[in-house]
Point group: C2
Chain length 279, copies 2
Amino acid sequence: MTVENISVNKSFGGWHKQYSHDSKTLNCAMRFAIYLPPQASNGEKVPVLYWLSGLTCSDENFMQKSGIQRIAAELGIAIVAPDTSPRGDDVADDEGYDLGKGAGFYVNATQAPWNRHYRMYDYVVNELPDLIETMFPVTNKRSIAGHSMGGHGALVIALRNTDAYQSVSAFSPISNPINCPWGKKAFAAYLGRNTANWAQYDASLLMRQASHFVPALVDQGDADDFLVEQLKPEVLNAAAQVNRYPLELNYREGYDHSYYFISSFIENHLRFHAKYLTK
Amino acid sequence: MTVENISVNKSFGGWHKQYSHDSKTLNCAMRFAIYLPPQASNGEKVPVLYWLSGLTCSDENFMQKSGIQRIAAELGIAIVAPDTSPRGDDVADDEGYDLGKGAGFYVNATQAPWNRHYRMYDYVVNELPDLIETMFPVTNKRSIAGHSMGGHGALVIALRNTDAYQSVSAFSPISNPINCPWGKKAFAAYLGRNTANWAQYDASLLMRQASHFVPALVDQGDADDFLVEQLKPEVLNAAAQVNRYPLELNYREGYDHSYYFISSFIENHLRFHAKYLTK
């Protein structure tokens, strides 16, 4: 296993680091970022919040723009941010920003040409946490969060792996991808036209059927341009109500889809996760 | 006067906005960003911190990466971030990242071809605050801060306009540009080879000669790759000691030149300015 350190920056008394490694799951070199709070330099093992980013992002957007390091340093929680798709010259791509590189949608592709590399679900659920827990001073307590496409990924992964995650949260998640343009385009390409194969990646369907509950927090700006056509949090909320799922959904007046929204409420999210990660 | 709003994002209960306007000083269209804290939406006039960015930056880097909005919202201070040079197809440029576009060095150029547009000193000192104080619900209380090239700009502007600024701070400033490679290259191009004309833009010389004192705070990472060759805070500190200038200079162990450093200490800086802006 080759793991290469790319960058190191001190941040709020802890360390932000980027690494490149050869991913067996994705069949390519992958980059991820980790923030290790000061407690991790003092001989403590700390729990981990995984963050899944949205369309077009890399491991960098959240680490540079969210401001989470301040709160992670206070609470003693590591933050891990993977990339949003496989990368490299031989990885299939599409002209659209919403398919291919930067748009892995956290699924395991079954259709050519995507199925050679696009297995972000397995990467985030298995390979990446195995690597993190081998390399760094962290416990095996994990929570997961994300934004937009990454909010979809976080919800789906937590709902399907209830033993592996203490809590889940999302900003502006694609809540019902089988019924929105982004999801239909991506799932048709990655998973094929048989929509029966899509259900395993739809947070609203999974939440409606869940028998084990991972506590969930969702924030959604009401001035988000994608709210009605793409995100559909009302479908997720209806699923939670039918199934009495412990979902807290907050609409935030005037906020949009940007990192200015995420940074405004990320402290609430990390304190929510800390209730489950550090108890 | 044409002023066009380009973007609006709600952030920590206030508003981040970008504008384009025709600058008479710079003879081109210019973009700036402003963060208006919630108090400014409630009929209050708020004081302003001007932020000058470093080489290669635009109005966006600080607003996206510093996390200052959280503290500005708490303290009721507006933040204004101009671009770092004139812009446009007819603006002179250089192949280097450290001269021309993105590298205006906050001086008034006297040499061709630069003197047609490169008058960032006058723009930041006069045109921009006049525009801000006309357009927005702000008082005429101003402080100024910056990073690297922008730290140089903030110190020079405050030291030369002691009546106009309540306080000044800098991260990793180019403290003695007449004696470092970045400064020598830029000043030779913009100001010509007669180094007598450079002294008016050297923070260390100005601090040594100052007769009116604007309170000053400087933070410098001791793992900054540019510390020894380019930044030279020890020259600034020596000038302050000779002149008994009220400069607080903090060396921060392990921190580098990046926004991970700035975001870690920006709260200290804004609380420093608030002592003078909101009293």
